[in-house]
Amino acid sequence: MDHRKAGLLDSEYEIICRELGREPNEAELRIFGVMWSEHCSYKSSKPLLGLFPKEGPAVLKGVGENAGVVDAGDGWGLAFKVESHNHPSAVEPYQGAATGVGGIIRDILAMGARPMASLDGLFFGNPDSRKTIFLSNGIVKGVGGYGNCVGVPTVGGKTFYDARYEDNPLLNAFCMGLVNAESIVSSQTAEPGNLVVLLGSKTGRDGIGGAAFASVELGEDTKASRPQVQIGDPFVEKLLIEACLEALENSLVTSMQDMGAAGITSSASEIAAKSGVGMILDLDKVPLREADMSAWEIALSESQERMLLIVLPEKLELVLSLGEKWDLDCAVIGKTVEGDRFILEKGGSVAVDLPASLIGGGCPEIRWPAITPANLANRQTFELENEILPSDLAESLLKLIGSPSLREKTWITRQYDSMVQVNTIQGPGAPLSLVRIKENGNIAAITMEALPWACQLDPFRGGYETMARSLRPLWVAGARHLGMTNCLNFPSPENPEQFWEFSEAVKGLAECCVDLGCPVVSGNVSLYNESAGLSILPTPLVCSVGLISSGESPLLPGNWKEGDILYLVGMDNAAIPASHFQVTCMGMLKGLPVPPSPEMERDFKERAILTAGKNVADSAIPILGGGLGIALCKEAISSGLGAEIQLGTPTLPAVSLFGEGGARALYAVPSVKAFEFLRIWKGFPVRQVGNVRGESLRLPRSTPLPIETLLKAWRGV
């Protein structure tokens, strides 16, 4: 077999031969092909990922494990991570999405945590195309089908439409779990003389080479890639979760690893390399779904719902009986030894013999050239004075709230069980999700954010704003952020202009994290999201996690009271470029998004948290997609009350109402508390924009919009 066919560069093959002192055999070559693929090795993104701050007072376990863990108080930790399953979802939407959910849940489980909440990020093409309807229905059913059965609530997410996702929809799956801080599982704790146990489903031919398939552009005939998509079984996953947690509770395992990309090879070699031990596995001991599988097929199969356990010999009996209790296959497939050899045996002979550290850690980084896109200046050219803005504010608002990305998503969220585990305080459809932690009474707050349009116009500013926007809802609700995880979805890095966008976006994210003190605890990179010349928009997606202490109540949206004063806090410099208004109502995407303003963000953070803590507002909503206009709409709809709005700003009404970006929020404050509210915000831009009154939203010089009319436009009926 030729190394190029295995997906290796000539230079990479040379390194392998030099390190081994020989040519690899076919099985070994295939292992390198998968393990040194972009998906497993992060070879194109590693230098950039180094920009992320990874330390912080709340970080219990950072980057390098299956998921990061942050301090949730009282000896508890929150393990969380977001991961893509884009390519599989494009090819086989139901199973692609389902196994995406299953995979991230096992990452959380591998930390020793009980998975307690999921979110999904969905990016689709033209909402009316047959392809998008097919893909979105399948992906949504896959997320629900898996999550509902496995008993992990899907408590939120993000849905975004743009024609550039037509052939390459994105599915980013986030999961968070709760772990006793003292029993966090590490992949670095195996010692020579331990047993290697495979628990869960039998191994079959499904998903072989999935990681390699995810590391190239999608072919025109996606059907041909179907065998590389895995099939999920959420029922077995549920048994696996309970069995693994029971094993951990009884201290039966020394280390544990989920099997995702590259199956047994990646999970086993990772434990070996990180723990500094060798490993000898007998592939004949692996329970198989079909006979006659070759060594490399077993080694690289991505069959789902399997965990690799490292067990002390004296604990084996108990582990086996646990497998029996939960009706799961459980087999000893090998042992750990002194040294660094990763040996796979089959039929009594050695099929693979490699240094463990070379498999996962040997792949050289690639520094792709980056070039500023030739059309960047054109993208960023936008003069507000030269544009004729749509003048009817009410009409624009109705158009916006009914637009694909902003309209009601109940058709999606009602297919997800968002309440199982009885912790969901704030479920889907809100600016953030809130999940109570029964064990200590604290509340975990989670956001998911992505701003592909802003990243397209200025990836640095877009990246920065994405990160800041993921934090603001936490602060407004009264939560302090603990950390973030990200999924970097981009097209091929081999195109220098695309690599420039990728680099700039990561720099923007990283700078915001440094400025605002938010550590990056885990993440995932998905490149090559393009096909037949159509690339996705640069789509860095961020999930931030924060905490509200027990005894404090979150400040939520949707609670306007008649007579409340509406205050807009934040600057008036929101931008039309990259806004939903520009794309939906003006039919263009041009200009520059708002520049970063770290001092404003920090100032906003402290005041917002104080506002929530002092209980001076009835309702609060951060200004997100669609600007102030959409924030007003959503508050009016969910409160069932109208408002009279006076903008009275120095800028154009459309800019005040629909501009986006910067630290801003809308508060509804009872008049008796206005004094205290204003004292908190003294020295920060704050302006009264109206009062809660009646049953219509009355914008200046516009037709009044009854709640019923807003609701109909939002629901698209």
Partner: protein, 234 residues
């Protein structure tokens, strides 16, 4: 007397029910693995929780209805003990024959997770004594197979016997099929057996048992049960 919550492989609301019984309602509760063949001593209430027993890969609840623990549950019911089946547990009860009817796929053919309003039709059962007759309560549903079905003549008999305990309703108190989120006949959300000691319902009272979760109407069920259990213990 205490509560026993049966855990089938694939149950995923077992911990939620235990939380509602034990932490919220202070009812002593024990988990029972489905491979057991007897219930703990002094069991007054058996709960079959929601979830996807055996993945719902066959008909929902059909496999669980043949679990080793089921004969003991059947015997417990025949002696007048309380049995509560929620969601998948309701499906299991219909599959065991402890309750009549079947739960078919929702009329939309989609999974539905949503808050629902229910009318309490009976308050003379051990599960509903703490409610007021005709009270409107809010419990969430989360299921793919929740369309309660019975052939017409049996449905009439069920109604004539007054076995319908919860019906999907509107805020103004009217109830019936037009309020079924899932197409359930006659708006039926929960029924009891003729003896009134076995209740099955699709909505989840355990998800509506704390104000922080949006509704505490479910407490009515636990308080009713608690009173009944304490009455029996004396």
């Amino acid at each position: 007397m205490k509560a026993a919550v049966v855990i089938f492989p694939g149950s995923n609301c077992d911990r939620d029910v235990i939380h509602a019984l034990e932490a919220v309602s202070c009812i002593p509760t024990q988990a029972v693995w489905h491979k057991e063949t007897s219930l703990p001593q002094d069991t007054g209430l058996v709960v079959l929780p929601g979830g996807f027993s055996y993945g719902d890969y066959l008909r929902c609840g059909a496999m669980a209805a043949r679990s080793p623990i089921v004969p003991a549950v059947r015997e417990h019911a025949s002696r007048g003990g309380l049995v509560l089946g929620i969601c998948n547990g309701f499906q299991v009860l219909t599959e065991t024959g402890l309750l009549p009817g079947a739960l078919l796929a929702n009329i939309s053919l989609e999974f539905i997770c949503s808050n629902c309003l229910l009318k309490v039709e009976r308050t003379d059962t051990p599960f509903t004594s703490a409610f007021k007759k005709g009270q409107i309560v809010q419990f969430p549903i989360a299921h793919h197979e929740g369309l309660f079905f019975l052939p017409e003549n049996e449905l009439e008999e069920l109604e004539a016997n007054g076995q319908v305990v919860f019906r999907y309703a509107s805020a103004d108190g009217s109830a019936g099929q037009q309020y079924s989120p899932n197409g359930a006949l006659n708006g039926i959300a929960g029924i009891v057996n003729k003896g009134g000691n076995v209740l099955g319902l699709m909505p989840h009272p355990e998800r509506a048992s704390e104000r922080i979760l949006g509704s505490s109407d479910g407490l009515g069920i636990w308080n009713s049960i608690k009173e009944w259990l304490e009455g029996r213990s004396k």
